[in-house]
Protein backbone atom coordinates (compact mmCIF):
# COMPACT_ATOMS: atom_id res chain seq x y z
CA UNK A 1 0.00 0.00 0.00
CA UNK A 2 2.70 2.43 0.95
CA UNK A 3 4.70 1.60 -2.18
CA UNK A 4 1.77 2.40 -4.44
CA UNK A 5 1.19 5.75 -2.80
CA UNK A 6 4.85 6.63 -3.02
CA UNK A 7 4.95 5.57 -6.65
CA UNK A 8 1.89 7.61 -7.53
CA UNK A 9 3.29 10.62 -5.79
CA UNK A 10 6.48 10.27 -7.72
CA UNK A 11 4.60 10.15 -11.01
CA UNK A 12 2.54 13.18 -10.12
CA UNK A 13 5.66 14.98 -9.09
CA UNK A 14 7.40 14.16 -12.34
CA UNK A 15 4.39 15.24 -14.34
CA UNK A 16 4.27 18.48 -12.43
CA UNK A 17 7.91 19.23 -12.99
CA UNK A 18 7.68 18.36 -16.65
CA UNK A 19 4.65 20.51 -17.25
CA UNK A 20 5.96 23.38 -15.21
CA UNK A 21 9.17 23.18 -17.17
CA UNK A 22 7.33 23.20 -20.48
CA UNK A 23 5.40 26.25 -19.31
CA UNK A 24 2.19 26.30 -21.27
CA UNK A 25 1.63 29.80 -22.51
CA UNK A 26 -1.65 31.24 -23.61
CA UNK A 27 -2.99 34.25 -25.45
CA UNK A 28 -3.43 35.76 -22.01
CA UNK A 29 0.28 35.67 -21.42
CA UNK A 30 1.02 37.13 -24.84
CA UNK A 31 -1.18 40.09 -24.02
CA UNK A 32 0.56 40.44 -20.69
CA UNK A 33 3.99 40.51 -22.34
CA UNK A 34 2.87 43.13 -24.86
CA UNK A 35 1.67 45.28 -21.98
CA UNK A 36 4.97 44.64 -20.22
CA UNK A 37 6.96 45.81 -23.21
CA UNK A 38 4.83 48.94 -23.44
CA UNK A 39 5.30 49.76 -19.75
CA UNK A 40 9.00 48.99 -19.89
CA UNK A 41 9.43 51.31 -22.85
CA UNK A 42 7.54 54.05 -21.02
CA UNK A 43 9.69 53.71 -17.94
CA UNK A 44 12.87 53.71 -20.00
CA UNK A 45 11.80 56.97 -21.65
CA UNK A 46 11.14 58.41 -18.18
CA UNK A 47 14.61 57.33 -17.11
CA UNK A 48 13.32 54.98 -14.44
CA UNK A 49 14.85 51.74 -15.61
CA UNK A 50 18.29 51.09 -17.07
CA UNK A 51 18.93 49.99 -20.64
CA UNK A 52 20.23 46.59 -19.51
CA UNK A 53 16.86 45.90 -17.90
CA UNK A 54 14.98 46.70 -21.07
CA UNK A 55 17.23 44.36 -23.04
CA UNK A 56 16.73 41.57 -20.51
CA UNK A 57 12.98 42.11 -20.50
CA UNK A 58 12.88 42.02 -24.29
CA UNK A 59 14.78 38.71 -24.13
CA UNK A 60 12.29 37.21 -21.71
CA UNK A 61 9.35 38.57 -23.70
CA UNK A 62 10.73 37.17 -26.92
CA UNK A 63 11.21 33.71 -25.40
CA UNK A 64 7.72 33.70 -23.95
CA UNK A 65 6.03 35.07 -27.08
CA UNK A 66 7.79 32.45 -29.17
CA UNK A 67 6.06 29.71 -27.20
CA UNK A 68 2.61 31.16 -27.50
CA UNK A 69 0.38 30.62 -30.52
CA UNK A 70 -1.36 33.92 -30.05
CA UNK A 71 -2.01 35.90 -33.27
CA UNK A 72 -0.38 39.00 -31.80
CA UNK A 73 2.91 37.24 -31.10
CA UNK A 74 4.77 37.71 -34.41
CA UNK A 75 3.97 41.43 -34.58
CA UNK A 76 4.92 41.83 -30.94
CA UNK A 77 8.21 40.04 -31.40
CA UNK A 78 9.06 42.16 -34.40
CA UNK A 79 8.30 45.33 -32.46
CA UNK A 80 10.36 44.04 -29.54
CA UNK A 81 13.34 43.49 -31.79
CA UNK A 82 12.94 47.01 -33.16
CA UNK A 83 12.83 48.37 -29.64
CA UNK A 84 16.02 46.53 -28.76
CA UNK A 85 17.79 48.22 -31.66
CA UNK A 86 16.22 51.56 -30.81
CA UNK A 87 17.48 51.56 -27.24
CA UNK A 88 20.90 50.46 -28.38
CA UNK A 89 20.95 53.54 -30.57
CA UNK A 90 19.43 55.61 -27.75
CA UNK A 91 16.71 56.59 -30.25
CA UNK A 92 14.02 57.99 -27.95
CA UNK A 93 11.68 58.93 -30.77
CA UNK A 94 11.71 55.36 -32.10
CA UNK A 95 11.05 53.96 -28.65
CA UNK A 96 8.15 56.34 -28.18
CA UNK A 97 6.65 55.16 -31.47
CA UNK A 98 7.12 51.53 -30.44
CA UNK A 99 5.45 52.18 -27.10
CA UNK A 100 2.41 53.37 -29.03
CA UNK A 101 2.61 50.30 -31.25
CA UNK A 102 2.61 48.03 -28.20
CA UNK A 103 -0.36 49.92 -26.83
CA UNK A 104 -2.40 49.33 -29.96
CA UNK A 105 -1.30 45.69 -30.11
CA UNK A 106 -2.40 45.26 -26.52
CA UNK A 107 -5.72 46.89 -27.24
CA UNK A 108 -6.30 44.43 -30.05
CA UNK A 109 -5.91 41.40 -27.77
Amino acid sequence: MQCTNAGMRRHLLFALLLIAACSRTTADQASSWVATLQFTGEQWLAGRVPTSFVRATIDSADRALQKTKAPVAPAARAAAEEMRQAIDRNDRAAVARLVKRFASLHAST
Binding site: A15, Q29, T36, F39, G47
Partner: protein, 405 residues
Protein backbone atom coordinates in the same frame (compact mmCIF):
# COMPACT_ATOMS: atom_id res chain seq x y z
CA UNK B 1 16.11 44.87 29.44
CA UNK B 2 17.51 41.81 27.72
CA UNK B 3 14.00 40.60 27.07
CA UNK B 4 13.09 43.91 25.47
CA UNK B 5 16.07 43.58 23.16
CA UNK B 6 15.09 40.02 22.37
CA UNK B 7 11.61 41.19 21.58
CA UNK B 8 12.80 43.88 19.24
CA UNK B 9 15.28 41.63 17.49
CA UNK B 10 12.86 38.75 17.36
CA UNK B 11 10.33 40.89 15.59
CA UNK B 12 12.86 42.10 13.09
CA UNK B 13 14.06 38.58 12.46
CA UNK B 14 10.56 37.30 11.96
CA UNK B 15 9.98 40.00 9.42
CA UNK B 16 13.12 38.92 7.61
CA UNK B 17 12.23 35.27 7.68
CA UNK B 18 8.71 35.90 6.53
CA UNK B 19 9.27 38.00 3.44
CA UNK B 20 11.36 35.97 1.06
CA UNK B 21 11.44 34.88 -2.56
CA UNK B 22 8.31 32.77 -2.12
CA UNK B 23 6.32 35.72 -0.87
CA UNK B 24 7.65 38.01 -3.55
CA UNK B 25 6.74 35.53 -6.26
CA UNK B 26 3.29 34.62 -4.97
CA UNK B 27 2.21 38.08 -3.80
CA UNK B 28 3.20 39.86 -6.98
CA UNK B 29 1.44 37.21 -9.04
CA UNK B 30 -1.64 37.49 -6.84
CA UNK B 31 -1.78 41.26 -7.11
CA UNK B 32 -1.11 41.32 -10.84
CA UNK B 33 -3.73 38.73 -11.70
CA UNK B 34 -6.42 39.24 -9.14
CA UNK B 35 -5.73 42.67 -7.68
CA UNK B 36 -6.70 42.60 -4.01
CA UNK B 37 -8.86 39.49 -4.13
CA UNK B 38 -6.29 37.17 -2.56
CA UNK B 39 -5.44 39.25 0.50
CA UNK B 40 -7.56 36.83 2.51
CA UNK B 41 -5.17 33.98 1.62
CA UNK B 42 -2.29 35.97 3.08
CA UNK B 43 -4.29 36.77 6.21
CA UNK B 44 -5.27 33.14 6.70
CA UNK B 45 -1.70 31.96 6.19
CA UNK B 46 -0.46 34.58 8.65
CA UNK B 47 -2.84 33.43 11.37
CA UNK B 48 -1.76 29.82 10.87
CA UNK B 49 1.93 30.64 10.92
CA UNK B 50 1.56 32.74 14.05
CA UNK B 51 0.20 29.70 15.85
CA UNK B 52 2.92 27.43 14.49
CA UNK B 53 5.75 29.82 15.32
CA UNK B 54 4.39 30.47 18.79
CA UNK B 55 4.18 26.74 19.46
CA UNK B 56 7.64 26.13 18.06
CA UNK B 57 9.15 28.84 20.25
CA UNK B 58 7.25 27.80 23.34
CA UNK B 59 8.38 24.23 22.85
CA UNK B 60 12.03 25.18 22.53
CA UNK B 61 11.86 27.55 25.47
CA UNK B 62 10.43 24.96 27.84
CA UNK B 63 12.24 21.82 26.75
CA UNK B 64 15.45 23.46 25.56
CA UNK B 65 15.29 21.23 22.53
CA UNK B 66 14.73 22.17 18.93
CA UNK B 67 12.15 20.36 16.86
CA UNK B 68 14.28 17.85 14.91
CA UNK B 69 16.01 16.92 18.16
CA UNK B 70 12.76 16.39 20.01
CA UNK B 71 10.91 14.63 17.22
CA UNK B 72 13.61 12.01 16.71
CA UNK B 73 13.85 11.42 20.44
CA UNK B 74 10.18 11.21 21.00
CA UNK B 75 9.02 9.32 17.93
CA UNK B 76 12.14 7.39 17.02
CA UNK B 77 14.36 7.48 14.00
CA UNK B 78 12.19 5.32 11.77
CA UNK B 79 9.22 7.66 12.18
CA UNK B 80 11.32 10.79 11.85
CA UNK B 81 12.99 9.59 8.68
CA UNK B 82 10.00 10.50 6.50
CA UNK B 83 9.58 14.12 7.63
CA UNK B 84 13.37 14.43 7.71
CA UNK B 85 13.76 13.30 4.11
CA UNK B 86 10.92 15.56 2.96
CA UNK B 87 12.30 18.49 4.93
CA UNK B 88 15.71 17.99 3.34
CA UNK B 89 14.30 18.05 -0.19
CA UNK B 90 12.23 21.15 0.57
CA UNK B 91 15.23 22.85 2.16
CA UNK B 92 17.33 22.34 -0.95
CA UNK B 93 14.60 23.55 -3.28
CA UNK B 94 13.85 26.62 -1.19
CA UNK B 95 17.55 27.37 -0.93
CA UNK B 96 17.81 27.13 -4.70
CA UNK B 97 14.89 29.52 -5.08
CA UNK B 98 16.29 32.02 -2.57
CA UNK B 99 19.69 31.94 -4.26
CA UNK B 100 17.78 32.52 -7.49
CA UNK B 101 16.22 35.58 -5.91
CA UNK B 102 19.57 37.01 -4.90
CA UNK B 103 20.98 36.26 -8.36
CA UNK B 104 18.06 38.04 -9.99
CA UNK B 105 18.51 41.07 -7.75
CA UNK B 106 22.18 41.23 -8.72
CA UNK B 107 21.21 40.82 -12.36
CA UNK B 108 18.89 43.81 -12.04
CA UNK B 109 21.58 45.96 -10.52
CA UNK B 110 24.49 44.95 -12.74
CA UNK B 111 22.87 43.84 -15.98
CA UNK B 112 24.89 40.63 -15.89
CA UNK B 113 22.97 37.38 -16.44
CA UNK B 114 21.74 35.36 -13.45
CA UNK B 115 23.94 32.36 -14.07
CA UNK B 116 27.06 34.42 -13.54
CA UNK B 117 25.98 35.13 -9.98
CA UNK B 118 25.13 31.60 -8.85
CA UNK B 119 28.52 30.63 -7.46
CA UNK B 120 29.50 34.08 -6.13
CA UNK B 121 26.25 34.21 -4.17
CA UNK B 122 26.82 30.72 -2.79
CA UNK B 123 30.34 31.68 -1.74
CA UNK B 124 29.12 34.91 -0.13
CA UNK B 125 26.50 33.00 1.84
CA UNK B 126 29.09 30.46 2.84
CA UNK B 127 31.46 33.14 4.13
CA UNK B 128 28.65 34.65 6.12
CA UNK B 129 27.93 31.32 7.78
CA UNK B 130 31.55 30.34 8.25
CA UNK B 131 32.58 33.49 10.04
CA UNK B 132 29.49 34.77 11.82
CA UNK B 133 27.76 34.03 15.02
CA UNK B 134 24.05 33.41 15.20
CA UNK B 135 23.16 36.81 16.59
CA UNK B 136 25.37 38.62 14.11
CA UNK B 137 23.55 36.94 11.26
CA UNK B 138 20.13 37.57 12.68
CA UNK B 139 20.78 41.18 13.56
CA UNK B 140 22.37 42.19 10.30
CA UNK B 141 19.84 40.54 8.01
CA UNK B 142 16.92 41.83 10.01
CA UNK B 143 18.12 45.42 10.16
CA UNK B 144 18.95 45.47 6.47
CA UNK B 145 15.66 43.71 5.79
CA UNK B 146 13.80 46.83 6.91
CA UNK B 147 14.30 48.12 3.40
CA UNK B 148 11.41 45.89 2.34
CA UNK B 149 9.16 48.41 4.08
CA UNK B 150 9.35 50.25 0.77
CA UNK B 151 6.50 48.01 -0.39
CA UNK B 152 4.34 49.30 2.42
CA UNK B 153 5.28 52.89 1.67
CA UNK B 154 4.48 52.37 -2.01
CA UNK B 155 1.18 50.70 -1.16
CA UNK B 156 0.15 53.63 1.00
CA UNK B 157 1.32 56.12 -1.61
CA UNK B 158 -0.90 54.55 -4.26
CA UNK B 159 -3.92 55.15 -2.01
CA UNK B 160 -5.80 51.96 -2.85
CA UNK B 161 -9.56 52.12 -2.29
CA UNK B 162 -10.17 50.93 1.25
CA UNK B 163 -13.43 49.34 0.26
CA UNK B 164 -11.68 47.06 -2.22
CA UNK B 165 -9.02 46.16 0.31
CA UNK B 166 -11.60 45.14 2.86
CA UNK B 167 -13.45 43.09 0.29
CA UNK B 168 -10.22 41.33 -0.61
CA UNK B 169 -9.66 40.50 3.03
CA UNK B 170 -12.59 38.14 2.95
CA UNK B 171 -12.55 34.98 0.88
CA UNK B 172 -14.31 35.29 -2.44
CA UNK B 173 -14.68 33.31 -5.61
CA UNK B 174 -12.89 34.53 -8.70
CA UNK B 175 -14.84 35.80 -11.67
CA UNK B 176 -12.42 34.16 -14.08
CA UNK B 177 -9.43 31.79 -14.15
CA UNK B 178 -10.51 29.79 -11.09
CA UNK B 179 -7.74 27.19 -11.40
CA UNK B 180 -5.07 29.86 -11.44
CA UNK B 181 -6.77 31.70 -8.57
CA UNK B 182 -6.76 28.69 -6.29
CA UNK B 183 -3.26 27.73 -7.37
CA UNK B 184 -1.97 31.14 -6.30
CA UNK B 185 -4.00 30.99 -3.08
CA UNK B 186 -2.43 27.64 -2.19
CA UNK B 187 1.01 28.92 -3.19
CA UNK B 188 0.64 31.95 -0.94
CA UNK B 189 -0.10 29.65 1.97
CA UNK B 190 2.82 27.39 1.01
CA UNK B 191 5.12 30.39 0.79
CA UNK B 192 4.15 31.80 4.17
CA UNK B 193 3.98 28.54 6.11
CA UNK B 194 7.42 27.47 4.99
CA UNK B 195 8.38 24.29 6.85
CA UNK B 196 11.90 25.54 7.43
CA UNK B 197 10.54 28.64 9.17
CA UNK B 198 9.13 27.05 12.29
CA UNK B 199 11.87 24.43 12.48
CA UNK B 200 14.52 27.12 12.25
CA UNK B 201 12.71 29.22 14.83
CA UNK B 202 12.95 26.45 17.43
CA UNK B 203 16.68 26.01 16.81
CA UNK B 204 17.11 29.76 17.03
CA UNK B 205 15.37 29.83 20.38
CA UNK B 206 17.80 27.20 21.67
CA UNK B 207 20.76 29.12 20.21
CA UNK B 208 19.53 32.20 22.04
CA UNK B 209 19.17 30.14 25.22
CA UNK B 210 15.53 30.85 25.84
CA UNK B 211 13.92 29.40 28.91
CA UNK B 212 10.37 29.20 30.21
CA UNK B 213 10.44 32.86 31.20
CA UNK B 214 10.59 33.75 27.51
CA UNK B 215 7.12 32.41 26.81
CA UNK B 216 5.44 35.84 26.88
CA UNK B 217 8.21 37.34 24.76
CA UNK B 218 7.82 34.46 22.34
CA UNK B 219 4.13 35.13 22.05
CA UNK B 220 4.75 38.80 21.31
CA UNK B 221 7.46 38.02 18.79
CA UNK B 222 5.28 35.51 16.97
CA UNK B 223 2.30 37.78 16.67
CA UNK B 224 4.02 41.07 15.98
CA UNK B 225 6.82 39.64 13.87
CA UNK B 226 4.59 37.60 11.61
CA UNK B 227 2.04 40.39 11.40
CA UNK B 228 4.75 42.81 10.35
CA UNK B 229 5.95 40.45 7.65
CA UNK B 230 2.39 39.97 6.55
CA UNK B 231 1.84 43.70 6.21
CA UNK B 232 4.87 43.95 3.95
CA UNK B 233 3.60 41.03 1.84
CA UNK B 234 0.15 42.59 1.59
CA UNK B 235 1.90 45.77 0.56
CA UNK B 236 3.43 43.81 -2.31
CA UNK B 237 0.01 42.46 -3.31
CA UNK B 238 -1.43 45.97 -3.27
CA UNK B 239 1.34 47.56 -5.29
CA UNK B 240 1.16 44.79 -7.88
CA UNK B 241 -2.61 45.19 -7.92
CA UNK B 242 -2.43 48.92 -8.52
CA UNK B 243 0.51 49.08 -10.91
CA UNK B 244 0.44 45.83 -12.87
CA UNK B 245 -3.15 44.62 -12.87
CA UNK B 246 -4.76 47.65 -14.60
CA UNK B 247 -2.13 47.41 -17.33
CA UNK B 248 -2.85 43.74 -17.83
CA UNK B 249 0.69 42.77 -16.86
CA UNK B 250 0.98 39.36 -15.23
CA UNK B 251 4.02 38.15 -13.36
CA UNK B 252 5.25 35.19 -15.38
CA UNK B 253 8.81 36.38 -15.03
CA UNK B 254 10.56 38.35 -12.32
CA UNK B 255 11.33 41.14 -14.77
CA UNK B 256 7.65 42.02 -14.82
CA UNK B 257 7.60 42.29 -11.04
CA UNK B 258 10.68 44.53 -11.08
CA UNK B 259 8.62 47.33 -12.63
CA UNK B 260 6.34 47.51 -9.60
CA UNK B 261 7.95 50.27 -7.62
CA UNK B 262 8.82 52.63 -10.47
CA UNK B 263 5.55 54.54 -10.17
CA UNK B 264 5.70 55.24 -6.46
CA UNK B 265 9.45 55.94 -6.41
CA UNK B 266 10.29 57.48 -9.80
CA UNK B 267 14.05 57.50 -9.50
CA UNK B 268 14.66 54.79 -6.91
CA UNK B 269 11.86 52.34 -7.57
CA UNK B 270 13.91 50.02 -9.72
CA UNK B 271 16.84 49.96 -7.32
CA UNK B 272 14.60 49.60 -4.27
CA UNK B 273 12.95 46.55 -5.74
CA UNK B 274 16.32 44.98 -6.53
CA UNK B 275 17.82 45.74 -3.13
CA UNK B 276 14.69 44.60 -1.27
CA UNK B 277 14.56 41.35 -3.17
CA UNK B 278 18.29 40.81 -2.79
CA UNK B 279 18.39 41.37 0.94
CA UNK B 280 15.18 39.49 1.68
CA UNK B 281 16.39 36.46 -0.26
CA UNK B 282 19.89 36.67 1.19
CA UNK B 283 18.57 36.62 4.74
CA UNK B 284 16.21 33.78 3.95
CA UNK B 285 18.94 31.78 2.21
CA UNK B 286 21.15 32.01 5.28
CA UNK B 287 18.29 30.80 7.45
CA UNK B 288 17.45 27.90 5.16
CA UNK B 289 21.07 26.73 4.95
CA UNK B 290 21.41 26.95 8.72
CA UNK B 291 18.11 25.21 9.18
CA UNK B 292 19.37 22.31 7.13
CA UNK B 293 22.51 22.09 9.24
CA UNK B 294 20.45 22.18 12.42
CA UNK B 295 18.18 19.45 11.17
CA UNK B 296 21.02 17.11 10.20
CA UNK B 297 23.10 17.75 13.30
CA UNK B 298 20.21 17.30 15.67
CA UNK B 299 18.97 14.21 13.89
CA UNK B 300 22.31 12.45 14.20
CA UNK B 301 23.33 13.91 17.52
CA UNK B 302 26.31 15.94 16.31
CA UNK B 303 27.66 19.02 17.98
CA UNK B 304 25.81 21.98 16.57
CA UNK B 305 25.49 25.72 16.82
CA UNK B 306 26.33 28.73 14.75
CA UNK B 307 28.01 30.19 17.81
CA UNK B 308 30.52 27.37 17.83
CA UNK B 309 33.66 27.83 15.78
CA UNK B 310 33.85 25.61 12.70
CA UNK B 311 36.62 23.55 14.23
CA UNK B 312 34.19 22.47 16.91
CA UNK B 313 31.38 21.30 14.67
CA UNK B 314 32.87 20.37 11.34
CA UNK B 315 29.99 18.13 10.28
CA UNK B 316 27.48 20.89 11.00
CA UNK B 317 29.47 23.15 8.68
CA UNK B 318 29.78 20.43 6.07
CA UNK B 319 26.01 20.27 5.75
CA UNK B 320 25.49 23.92 4.96
CA UNK B 321 28.47 23.90 2.65
CA UNK B 322 27.04 20.99 0.67
CA UNK B 323 23.58 22.57 0.77
CA UNK B 324 24.87 25.81 -0.71
CA UNK B 325 26.72 23.99 -3.46
CA UNK B 326 23.67 21.97 -4.44
CA UNK B 327 21.40 24.98 -4.04
CA UNK B 328 23.46 27.03 -6.45
CA UNK B 329 23.21 24.35 -9.14
CA UNK B 330 19.69 25.36 -10.16
CA UNK B 331 20.76 28.84 -11.22
CA UNK B 332 24.04 27.57 -12.57
CA UNK B 333 22.28 25.36 -15.09
CA UNK B 334 20.05 28.24 -16.10
CA UNK B 335 16.75 27.24 -14.57
CA UNK B 336 14.15 29.98 -14.49
CA UNK B 337 14.08 31.32 -10.91
CA UNK B 338 10.36 32.10 -10.85
CA UNK B 339 9.48 28.64 -12.10
CA UNK B 340 11.72 27.06 -9.47
CA UNK B 341 10.04 29.17 -6.81
CA UNK B 342 6.51 28.21 -7.85
CA UNK B 343 7.33 24.50 -8.04
CA UNK B 344 8.92 24.75 -4.61
CA UNK B 345 5.89 26.51 -3.14
CA UNK B 346 3.54 23.83 -4.42
CA UNK B 347 5.74 21.03 -3.03
CA UNK B 348 6.13 22.93 0.22
CA UNK B 349 2.36 23.11 0.61
CA UNK B 350 2.09 19.40 -0.16
CA UNK B 351 4.73 18.54 2.44
CA UNK B 352 3.14 20.48 5.28
CA UNK B 353 1.22 17.69 7.00
CA UNK B 354 4.38 15.58 7.32
CA UNK B 355 6.36 18.32 8.97
CA UNK B 356 3.67 20.10 10.97
CA UNK B 357 1.76 17.18 12.45
CA UNK B 358 4.68 15.74 14.47
CA UNK B 359 5.18 19.09 16.11
CA UNK B 360 1.48 19.51 16.83
CA UNK B 361 1.43 16.09 18.48
CA UNK B 362 4.39 17.00 20.66
CA UNK B 363 2.70 20.17 21.81
CA UNK B 364 0.25 18.06 23.75
CA UNK B 365 2.83 16.04 25.64
CA UNK B 366 2.40 17.12 29.24
CA UNK B 367 5.39 15.12 30.40
CA UNK B 368 7.59 17.21 28.12
CA UNK B 369 5.91 20.57 28.44
CA UNK B 370 4.14 20.43 31.80
CA UNK B 371 2.01 23.52 32.12
CA UNK B 372 3.16 24.94 28.85
CA UNK B 373 1.49 22.22 26.80
CA UNK B 374 -1.25 23.28 24.42
CA UNK B 375 -4.39 24.61 25.99
CA UNK B 376 -7.83 24.49 24.44
CA UNK B 377 -7.34 27.43 22.08
CA UNK B 378 -4.02 26.20 20.76
CA UNK B 379 -5.42 22.74 20.25
CA UNK B 380 -8.43 23.96 18.36
CA UNK B 381 -6.03 25.92 16.19
CA UNK B 382 -3.82 22.85 15.88
CA UNK B 383 -6.72 20.68 14.79
CA UNK B 384 -7.79 23.26 12.22
CA UNK B 385 -4.20 23.50 10.98
CA UNK B 386 -3.99 19.74 10.59
CA UNK B 387 -7.14 19.75 8.47
CA UNK B 388 -5.88 22.67 6.41
CA UNK B 389 -2.49 21.06 5.76
CA UNK B 390 -4.12 17.81 4.71
CA UNK B 391 -6.38 19.65 2.28
CA UNK B 392 -3.40 21.56 0.92
CA UNK B 393 -1.40 18.37 0.53
CA UNK B 394 -4.13 16.86 -1.59
CA UNK B 395 -4.86 19.85 -3.83
CA UNK B 396 -1.53 21.60 -4.23
CA UNK B 397 0.09 19.43 -6.86
CA UNK B 398 -3.01 18.93 -9.02
CA UNK B 399 -3.64 22.67 -8.85
CA UNK B 400 -0.09 23.38 -9.91
CA UNK B 401 -0.61 21.19 -12.95
CA UNK B 402 -4.01 22.61 -13.86
CA UNK B 403 -3.75 26.19 -12.66
CA UNK B 404 -0.09 27.00 -12.95
CA UNK B 405 0.99 29.07 -15.88
Amino acid sequence: MKKAMTLALGILTSVGGFFDVGNIATCTQAGARFRFQLIWAMLLATIVVIFLIEMSGRFAAVTNKALPDAIREHFGFTFWLVPFAILTVIHILVLGAEIGGVCFALHLVTGLPLQVWALPVAVLLWLFLWRSTFSAIENSTSLLGLITLCFVVAAVWHRPPLHDLLRGSLPSLPSQHPANYWFIAVSIVGAVIAPYLFYFYSSGAVEDEWDASYIPVNRAVSVIGMAFGSVISIGAIIVAGVVLAPRGIHVDDYHQAALMLTSAFPFWGYVLFAVSMGIACLGAAVEVALSMSYTFAQTFGWNWGEDLAPDEDARFCLVYTAALLVGSLFMLVGMDPLQLTMITMALSAAALPFVAIPMLLLMNDRKLLHDAANGAISNVAAAAIVVLTLVLAVVSIPLAVVGGS
